[in-house]
């Protein structure tokens, strides 16, 4: 499609740096989100390697106990709050308006605010390393009374997470209004790309759950600084209250962290299987069901407190496995008898399905109350969370990068390097995290700074080797990115022969997104345009 400069665009030319700092264009903000989150992915990854270095051998004194507590706390905080949650806002910002055929988000300036809240929050959180007592060190869960005993780095952490919460709450409202009100003609709700649907359900969860976390953090801040009594039983408070309110946010938050990833691979797998997504509507309803049920399972993190209704929360947790299982069959059914091409994005998509499946199954395993009593707070739980958030979310992040890189930057990432990236990461990931199941079953507690010689050395060492292999797997990725940026922008509108509207404009798209919108008569408008004889099917 020919690129025609819009009349008057020259009048708005500004120095590049000023343009990036003041932009309200959803695409530029999306790219800023991606840069920001990948930076903190690297920071969180380095902290993870410090953790694994400490645990590589028994009785290690690589870092002090207090430093270890800070490192694992900041690893999780960076990965969850500064990488995974905002990286979806990055993909969402770039893609949602394009996928629904809009010119921008509903509130471009609020969108810019959502992004620009992130850098100060990231700086505040990591400024903890500079204050007396060091950074937050009570784990990303910040349980009371542990969180009462930390130094002032904990207060910086609280303020930072509240700011991030504001960013994600206003961002959520922006995404919801955008998808409810800004869709192109013909783009009914049930023709929206699956990625948009997952962003929509994620936005609902963010809008309703994040303020509850803000309330919990506010109470913690009052307890720590103004002599409050919320979580202190001696003065009439309740330590379990923190856990209840925290998980009321943080369990929906794990769906905030995974649903858009499911959306991304649901864009990738149909394209490279050359079939429509199997069971589009089932997928949409399963996403809604996960969002709804997500609010009723928080106390499965608290079985061992003895303060929650075990049968209810166990049952609801099993129930949420059903819509998740539906999605596994959506993906398998899509690939079944498809003409699969094993491009790098597809490899990451298949990696997601298989690794997330393991993470789902060991999650269901943990939902069995007696088993949870045995494995609570052991490395089994660490294995579970990494199989869903690394094997799931991170796979989807990289799949999304390889898939949309031609659209966002107009260049393709090298396929060979991409396959090395995927292969090394998959092996490193399983080597790093599978042994944690066995360590957990053997009773190794999470969050301990070191351990004595007890038969855990070999598995821990294997895990450390795996973690460094994950680090090594980033090298081909970085080379591929640098190599791509050294080449000219040569990508056509639709290099993958994909289905959704973003591929109907140039790569990268013009500021105003579309010169002309393809007609939308199904959830695959570009397929319809390529195959007018077959059009009209679908939904």
């Amino acid at each position: 499609m020919a690129t025609v400069a819009a009349p008057g665009t020259q009048a708005y030319a500004r120095p590049a740096l000023l343009d990036w700092l003041t932009t309200v264009d959803h695409k530029k903000l999306g790219i800023l989100y991606l840069y920001f989150t990948m930076f903190f992915f690297a920071v969180g990854g380095i902290l993870a390697l410090l953790v694994r270095t400490q645990l590589a051998v028994a009785d290690s004194s690589f870092v002090s106990n207090n430093a270890y507590n800070q490192i694992f706390t900041m690893h999780a905080s960076a990965m969850l709050f500064l990488f995974i949650i905002p990286v979806w806002a990055g993909f969402g910002n770039y893609l949602v308006p394009l996928q629904i055929g809009a010119a921008d988000m509903a509130f471009p300036r609020i969108n810019a605010l959502s992004f620009w809240l992130l850098p100060p929050a990231g700086i505040l959180m990591f400024a903890g390393f500079l204050v007396e007592g060091g950074s937050a060190n009570a784990g990303w869960t910040a349980y009371s009374p542990l969180a009462q005993q930390s130094g002032s780095g904990m207060d910086l952490w609280i303020i930072s997470v509240i700011i991030l919460g504001v960013s994600s709450t206003i961002g959520a409202a922006n995404f919801m209004v955008t998808m409810f009100r800004m869709r192109a003609p013909g783009m009914t709700m049930f023709r929206m790309p699956i990625f948009c649907w997952t962003m929509l359900v994620t936005a609902v969860l963010q809008l309703l759950a994040t303020p509850v976390l803000a309330a919990a953090l506010t109470m913690l801040f009052i307890d720590r600084n103004f002599g409050g009594a919320f979580f202190d039983p001696n003065t009439g408070g309740n330590a379990i209250l923190w856990q209840n309110i925290f998980w009321f946010y943080s369990h929906p938050a794990v769906y905030i962290m995974i649903l858009p990833g499911m959306g991304i691979i649901s864009e990738i797998i149909p394209v490279f299987s050359r079939k429509p997504l199997f069971g589009y509507k089932a997928f949409v309803f399963a996403t809604m069901a996960i969002g709804g049920l997500g609010f009723s399972v928080w106390a499965h993190h608290m079985f061992t407190t003895g303060a929650v209704l075990l049968p209810f929360f166990s049952f609801m947790t099993f129930l949420i496995g059903v819509p998740t299982g539906v999605k596994i069959f959506n993906w398998l059914g899509t690939m079944w008898r498809g003409s699969i091409t094993f491009t790098t994005p597809m490899l990451f998509g298949i990696g997601f399905v298989s690794m997330f499946l393991i993470g789902g199954i060991n999650g269901m395993f943990s939902a069995v109350v007696p088993i949870d009593f045995a494995i609570h707070d052991t490395y089994f739980v660490v294995a579970h969370i990494h199989y869903v958030l690394f094997g799931g979310s991170v796979m989807a992040v990289f799949g999304g990068f390889y898939y949309w890189f031609p659209k966002i930057w107009g260049r393709k990432l090298n396929e060979t390097l991409g396959k090395w990236h995927f292969g090394l990461m998959l092996i490193g990931f399983n080597l790093a995290f599978f042994p944690m199941h066995l360590l957990g079953l053997d009773g190794m507690p999470r969050r301990i700074a070191t351990y004595s010689e007890s038969g855990w050395e070999a598995l821990n060492f294997a895990s450390t080797v795996g973690s460094f292999l994950i680090g090594v797997s980033m090298i081909p990725f970085l080379i591929a990115v640098v190599a791509a940026f050294m080449r000219p922008k040569d990508q056509p509108d639709d290099p993958w022969e994909a289905n959704t509207l973003e591929w109907g404009t140039t790569s990268p798209p013009p500021v105003y997104n579309f010169d002309e919108l393809p007609e939308v008569r199904s959830e695959r408008p570009l397929f319809d345009r390529r195959h007018p004889d077959l059009a009209g099917g679908g939904h």
Partner: protein
């Protein structure tokens, strides 16, 4: 005439701005929900309420008394509820094109909001317990304090809308900011009614 003046987005029902604003209010409801939950759990846990059994000897010696005086807050409640009616009246006036009615309504609402805040501050000053005096003091000051902050935010909102009204920016067709402002004020009012009920009225 009206059909010509009204912008197309009114024909589709709610505008983007109003929808976004209502979603923002939903997040506010969840925020207060978290704080209310803390209060309910504290009351459910308590052996007696107010939890005088938890006071230390130092607190008793310092003259801490866990009791509230319902008189002044009751008057403040009446003022806040009335102010909700006033701002709704102001919105009805601009719907009829009555600029002066809008300005007076907003001004009176703003004055009532300020009076409410002044009464709350006076009430704080005369209470014999602080935010650190058991869960009773902590929940009381946190809940009413965050509500007070929202009243203040609402008052600023009204002030901005009032200044815009003085500049003649609203008409019978275009007055969305007035609507949003009045919805926000009703929200703050409803939260207060719930707070007043659980803090002052529900038996001990």
């Amino acid at each position: 005439m009206a059909a010509i003046e009204s912008s197309p987005r009114h024909e589709e029902g709610m505008s983007n701005g109003m929808l976004g604003f209502i979603l923002f209010l939903a997040s506010e409801v969840m925020f207060f929900g978290g704080l209310f939950a803390a209060y309910f759990i504290a009351r459910a846990d308590a052996q007696e309420w107010p939890p005088v059994n938890l006071l230390t000897e130092e607190q008793i010696a310092a003259g801490v008394q866990l009791e509230m005086h319902v008189g002044l807050p009751a008057i403040a409640t009446a003022i806040l509820i009335t102010s909700s009616i006033v701002i709704q009246w102001a919105e009805f006036q601009i719907k009829k094109g009555n600029q002066a009615g809008l300005i007076w309504g907003l001004f009176i609402t703003l004055a009532m909001g300020v009076i409410f805040l002044a009464m709350q501050m006076y009430d704080y000053a005369q209470l014999d317990f602080g935010a650190g005096d058991t869960i009773y003091g902590t929940t009381f000051y946190t809940l009413t304090g965050f509500h007070g902050a929202h009243v203040f935010g609402g008052a600023v909102f009204i002030l901005i809308v009032l200044l815009r009204a003085l500049g003649g920016q609203f008409s019978a067709q275009r007055h969305e900011a007035v609507r949003a402002c009045s919805i926000y004020w009703h929200f703050v009012d409803v939260v207060w009614i719930a707070l007043f009920t659980i803090l002052y009225i529900v038996p001990e």
